[in-house]
């Protein structure tokens, strides 16, 4: 039995080897898509792939007169696995265009990798670490979806001016994406006079499952808690906070109250209703293009989330940008993609969430939505639009050099004493 199994495997391996120099067909262009299809972020990766599929369907799998062949790669959210998958897509499958990855640290790893393959064009999926494009960017890495600080533009002002919060506790995961988010939220909040000193900030390891000690250590004399946890961590905290009888209002990071959390099976309803947050999408935005996108998503993926999540949205926009630029150069990548990348850099297009263009470091300038959690007509939790903050750029309106003076995002930046 084993012998048969092994011989089968050997046969399969032989087939793979035989095909390792397969000639590229003239009329097709291979496009790689990389997302987390393994591990704890599987659901989010599948959601990203839905976005890729929607954009490709919209173009009928054709751009610039060429047929687009999709090749997928899978990582488990670790930079190493993202790198491995990207190497396979680029060096083995020979894709000239790669869309992805999904999470922050993966993005940083792929930026470094992009520098070693200048003829391949990398278009970010949904990863949102600041330094992917801010410091030492790669010439061939494009991000049409913004970073974690950008996504929270306007939330700090909103919490200070309209909610009237003055003292905040901060609870966030201990890695680069939440640092970026905490920075983006606290910088305006503290500039206005708000306080969130370092000893009221709680950094928990990613994947922590017991928040009871943190909940016990939260100070009593704050107005609200800014929570920047994602996915499973957010669900765990919200449930346990409810069980512990917590009563403080919350302010959410971009993925703390997005559809992947609101759609989860848990008892978080009482905690999250009314929580303000901000991000690149808003579930209830009253705009024909967004509604159309939403309906399309619901029709195509009945087993998806009640409303397309940030990940489907990001991958959709990135893939669409890739295809639009291909149209512009008539599918011609013969110069190592130079003309193609010029077209990408100058691209400006309408998305379901407003106009998107790129700055000189190839990072998005896009609209950001300020939202609050409500219950929609179907009884699902959803983010209701409070206001739209138009055309936010990566330096939050400041000149580049001035913005760099804030320093790299970290646990203590800004100090907020």
């Amino acid at each position: 039995m084993i012998v048969r199994y092994i011989s089968k495997t050997l046969l399969a391996i032989a087939i793979v080897f035989a095909g390792w120099h397969s000639a590229k067909a003239q009329e097709t262009i291979k496009m790689g898509a990389l997302a987390t299809l393994e591990g704890a972020f599987t659901v989010l990766g599948e959601e990203g792939m839905r976005g890729v599929e929607m954009a490709l369907e919209e173009f009928g799998y054709e751009a610039g007169g060429k047929t687009i062949e999709l090749v997928t790669g899978s990582s488990d959210a670790s930079p190493d696995s993202a790198l491995r998958a990207a190497r396979k897509l680029v060096e083995q499958d020979g894709v000239p265009i790669l869309v992805g990855p999904l999470s922050g640290s993966e993005g940083l790893a792929l930026k470094d990798y992009a520098k070693t393959h200048p003829d391949v064009t990398f278009i970010n999926g949904s990863s949102a670490a600041q330094d992917t494009t801010l410091r030492e960017p790669a010439e061939n890495f494009f991000r049409f979806t913004g970073d974690g600080a950008q996504w929270l533009a306007g939330l700090g002002e909103y919490a200070y001016n309209e909610k009237g919060y003055r003292n905040l506790a901060v609870l966030a995961e201990d890695y680069s994406f939440p640092y970026t988010q905490v920075f983006g939220f606290l910088e305006p909040f503290c500039r206005l006079g708000g306080k969130a000193p370092a000893d009221a900030r709680f950094w928990v390891p990613i994947g922590n499952n017991d928040y009871s000690s943190v909940i016990a250590a939260l100070p009593d004399d704050v107005d609200a808690i800014f929570v920047a946890l994602g996915g499973a961590d957010a669900v765990k905290f919200l449930t346990q906070y409810g069980q512990a009888g917590g009563e403080l209002p919350l302010v959410g990071g971009t993925i703390t109250v997005d559809q992947s959390v609101l759609g989860s099976k848990g008892r978080i309803r009482d905690q999250v209703i009314g929580t303000p947050s901000a991000g690149p999408i808003s579930d209830t935005w009253d705009n024909p293009a967004w509604r159309e996108f939403q309906d399309e998503y619901r029709e195509r993926f009945p087993d998806g989330f009640p409303s397309p999540s940030l990940f489907a949205h990001s991958y959709y926009i990135s893939t669409k940008a890739a295809l639009l630029a291909l149209d512009e150069v008539n599918g011609d990548l013969s110069d190592g993609g130079k003309a193609y990348r010029r077209a990408l850099a100058n691209l400006e297009f309408e998305t379901p969430t407003g106009k998107v263009s790129l700055d000189e470091r190839r990072n998005a300038v896009a609209d950001v939505f300020l939202t609050e959690v409500t219950v929609d007509d179907a009884g699902n939790l959803a983010n209701e639009t409070v206001r739209v903050i138009p055309q936010v750029n990566q330096t939050l309106g400041l000149p580049y050099e001035e913005f760099l003076a804030y320093g790299q995002v970290s646990r203590e930046n800004p100090s907020c004493e």
Binding site: I2, T42, S74, D76, P79, Q92, S176
Partner: protein, 353 residues
């Protein structure tokens, strides 16, 4: 049943293998040279250190990847990185020597903790140590730069060759792997290696004969640490980065899977296991349902443990014995169908008291 005699017998095959390995980068694409070839050799070398402990010493350690990971971290810390945390910029050869030495000392420390307890404890304790190390590097920002880890680790440019280019890196990995392969073969025939195997089969008797059982075992851990540490340096150069994800428990268990699938009786086993593992890891996505890679590798592992405790090596010798009905091959088949030497030993030591 002296394993060393089995090894000397396959000379023609060995020659063929050597030629194949040396010629491999010629027809192979960069991807196959680097991502498949060199990566298999690195993983195989780490698994080789486990084979040395498990196969010769009867101590199955899950912390060998942790040892390799520590060396990789040290390369980033003492050498140069692009993250801005530490990166002391020592010359590359000092960095490598120190990294491998500290890793080996750490390995000996792991050994010292686990040899105080008996056999089956080893796997539990080393598993716990692997996890502790994972949490430590993930949480510590001052030295290990936490979740992000280190990036921008560069191999040196020597003799005008950039050593991360596919072919040079492949030959570098091949040279390291071949050296340690030879070293393990040599060690298994040396007085130390023979004593180690005897301790594996019956520690009490060896103790009674005046051997210092604990010292032999800790030394084995130290030597295995040199192997794993060197592979760790290669791993850092290979990826150009090191982060907690590279030293996670799942990866540590992958090393065990590689060693067991390949077979722990002979140093060629870990490399055979690594090739199968890396091919599956890269091409499961094309052949089988791509999200179920772990089920496939788990099933292979399961079947190997259940039916062929010698791994691929066991299947190989089984096949040979079926084709050749010589006296010599019958000798082989008896050896393999009766269960592995490694695993036999546990039963043997139990039945002897």
């Amino acid at each position: 049943m002296d394993p060393s005699r089995i090894w000397t017998r396959v000379h023609p095959l060995q020659w063929l293998l050597i030629v194949l390995l040396l010629a491999y980068p010629g027809p192979a694409s960069d991807f196959f040279t680097f991502q498949i070839g060199a990566y298999s050799l690195i993983l195989g070398t780490i698994a080789l250190s486990l084979m040395m402990l498990g196969g010769l010493g009867g101590m199955v350690s899950l912390a060998q990847l942790t040892v390799a990971g520590l060396a990789a971290y040290l390369v980033a810390i003492f050498g140069e990185n692009s993250v801005g945390v530490l990166g002391l910029g020592w010359p590359w050869w000092v960095t490598c020597l120190v990294a491998v030495f500290i890793a080996a000392v750490f390995s000996a420390f792991v050994g010292a903790i686990s040899v105080r307890t008996e056999g089956i404890y080893t796997i539990m304790i080393t598993l716990a140590i692997a996890v502790a190390f994972f949490f430590l590097v993930r949480q510590n920002y001052v030295v290990f730069n936490g979740w992000t880890g280190f990036a921008g680790i560069e191999p040196p440019t020597l003799f005008g060759v950039y050593w991360r280019d596919p072919a040079p890196f492949y030959y570098l990995s091949l040279a390291v792997a071949a050296f340690f392969y030879w070293a393990v073969v040599y060690c298994s025939r040396s007085p130390f290696g023979l004593a180690l195997q005897a301790i594996r089969d019956n520690p009490r008797r060896m103790h009674a004969l005046g051997f210092n059982v604990a010292a032999h075992r800790v030394t084995a851990y130290f030597l295995a640490g040199i192997i794993a540490g060197t592979a760790g340096v290669l791993l850092a150069w290979f990826n150009g980065r090191i982060s907690p994800g590279s030293v996670g428990v799942d990866v540590a268990i992958d090393i065990l899977v590689i060693a067991v699938i390949g077979g722990m009786r002979h140093p060629v086993g870990p490399f055979a296991g690594a090739v199968v593992f890396v091919l599956l890891q890269n091409f499961a996505i094309d052949l089988i349902d791509r999200e179920r890679f772990n089920t496939v590798i788990g099933l292979v592992f399961f079947l190997v443990v259940l039916f062929s405790p010698d791994g691929l090596l066991g299947i190989w010798s089984e096949l040979r014995s079926r084709f050749q009905q010589s006296r010599q091959s019958r000798f082989h088949s008896r050896g393999s169908s009766g269960g592995s030497k490694t695993f036999d030993s546990v039963g043997a030591s139990q039945s002897s008291h």
